[in-house]
């Protein structure tokens, strides 16, 4: 399967197979006007199988959100058909409005305009906790 190379945009590569859709929704790519391709189960020498997302358009995406879903993914920025920047992804210290707290007793469930903030508590295990109620984020 071949997808045309993009001229200006972003390629998120090396996404763990199966996580592409999750990332698509988390990054709210469904709201974009430009072309977006999700390629699932691509054969990869390094990973066996992987997902790739290509966004054809000059858009700003939340790199932190990618780090949360899959810190092993890579981000390539394409300008005029050329790779101009490779961004490293690390687990961000804070996630703001990326995921929602699911604890019904949390103040963020009733206080409507409150930012949904999660903080990294254990980098090795990738554990995030809600700033307000300390509930663990479910991945």
């Amino acid at each position: 399967m071949k997808i045309d190379s993009i001229q200006n945009g972003i390629v998120i590569d090396h996404i763990a197979a199966g996580r592409g859709m999750q990332l698509y929704h988390l990054l709210q790519l469904d709201k974009l006007e430009c072309s977006v391709a999700i390629i699932k189960n691509v054969t990869s020498r390094k990973m066996g199988k992987k997902d790739i997302i290509k966004v054809d358009g000059k858009v700003d995406i939340d790199i932190d959100a990618i780090g949360y879903v899959d810190p092993k993914a890579t981000v390539n920025i394409i300008r005029n058909g050329e790779l101009v920047e490779k961004r490293d992804i690390v687990l961000p210290e804070r996630l703001v409005n990326v995921i929602r707290c699911k604890n019904p007793r949390c103040i963020s469930s009733t206080e409507q305009e409150l930012d949904q903030v999660f903080e990294l508590k254990d980098r090795e295990k990738g554990i995030y906790r809600c700033l307000y109620c300390e509930a663990k984020a479910e991945n």
């Binding site: 604890n103 007793r105 949390c106 103040i107 206080e111 409150l114 809600c130 307000y132 109620c133 300390e134």
Partner: protein, 304 residues
């Protein structure tokens, strides 16, 4: 400007400092009677907790300050749809310090992020209740004379008992403390409290269902309530509840200088017959709670 949301917001040094101030208040209350003249404490309670509210208010009066009290905040502003953030901004115009109790976890933190005055968490749902822990700490310090080299038994509902979790977190910071966790299997201490607090501290702990068996080694026995609604069925509750009720018989093998604590209110988990035992500290604990709230108000208002 500081707030107190979680007991770990205070460093060990700050706690030591507060204990010193508390001891000085107890030794010479008159010296502190006008420290907060002209200052106002607002108590905003979105759920009833008469004991905690009175303790805060008594503390402020002891310091010569005044109190603006909203005992049922839920029926006033929140019912009209005002956010915690807005309430915090509004209260900042009237008072010098705010004590907030709220059924939602994290509400006092949201208040502190929006207030221009110090905010004290007076209990946020099942989450934190740092001033209870302050009361517990002062009780241990005054009655045992130290925070280190102690074997602390925690008995009852260790799963949902937030006061137990905070006390463990606070005590883990002192050297040579051992925890004995006494509860029915259904109400064991959650594993995150062990992995996030006890294990990194390197302190020893032991889990048991048998209170009497571990009684002789305890320096402190911290009792909590085993609530009926925590059990799946009535039979389990009836079968287990008596094992976790403290009676004079169960105290037979306890150390002579052990102290018995309880965050109150007690229902039946400590027999009234224990009240006259010199080791019973739970009513004194309420007194220590008021003193420690005074020390906290002085600290947060930066009154020397």
């Amino acid at each position: 400007m500081r707030s107190l949301i979680d007991i770990l917001d205070l460093s060990v040094e700050e706690l030591d400092e507060m204990v010193k101030v508390a001891e000085d208040i107890m030794a010479d209350p008159a010296k502190y009677a006008h420290k907060c003249d002209g200052k106002k404490l607002a108590t905003m309670f979105y759920e009833p907790s008469t004991r905690t509210r009175l303790s805060f208010e008594a503390a402020m009066y002891e310091l010569g300050g005044n109190v603006l009290s909203v005992a049922s905040a839920a029926s006033s502003s929140a019912a009209k749809g005002e956010s915690v953030a807005d309430t915090a901004k509004m209260i900042s115009c009237y008072a010098d310090i705010l004590a907030m109790r709220h059924p939602k976890e994290g509400a006092p933190l949201v208040a502190s992020m929006n207030a221009t005055i110090p905010v004290v968490n007076a209990g946020d749902g099942g989450h934190n209740h740092p001033t209870q822990t302050l009361a517990d700490l002062l009780t241990i310090h005054c009655e045992k004379g130290r925070f280190d080299n102690l074997t602390i038994g925690l008995c009852g509902d260790l799963k949902f008992g937030r006061t137990v979790h905070s006390l463990i977190a606070a005590m883990c910071r002192y050297p040579n403390v051992k925890f004995v966790l006494i509860s029915p299997t259904e109400l064991k201490l959650p594993s995150y409290v062990k992995t996030e607090h006890i294990k990194p501290s390197g302190h020893a702990y032991e889990q048991t269902t048998d209170l009497e068996a571990v009684m002789p080694q305890l320096d402190v026995l911290y009792m909590t309530r085993v609530q009926k609604e925590r059990f799946f069925n009535e039979e389990d509750y009836l079968r287990l509840k008596d094992s976790y009720i403290l009676t004079p018989e169960k105290l037979k093998n306890a150390k002579k200088d052990m102290i018995i604590m309880h965050p109150l209110p007690r229902v039946n988990e400590i027999s009234v017959a224990v009240d006259n035992d010199p080791r019973a500290c739970y009513f004194k604990q309420a007194y220590y709670g008021k003193i420690m709230r005074e020390a906290l108000i002085l600290k947060l208002l930066e009154v020397q």
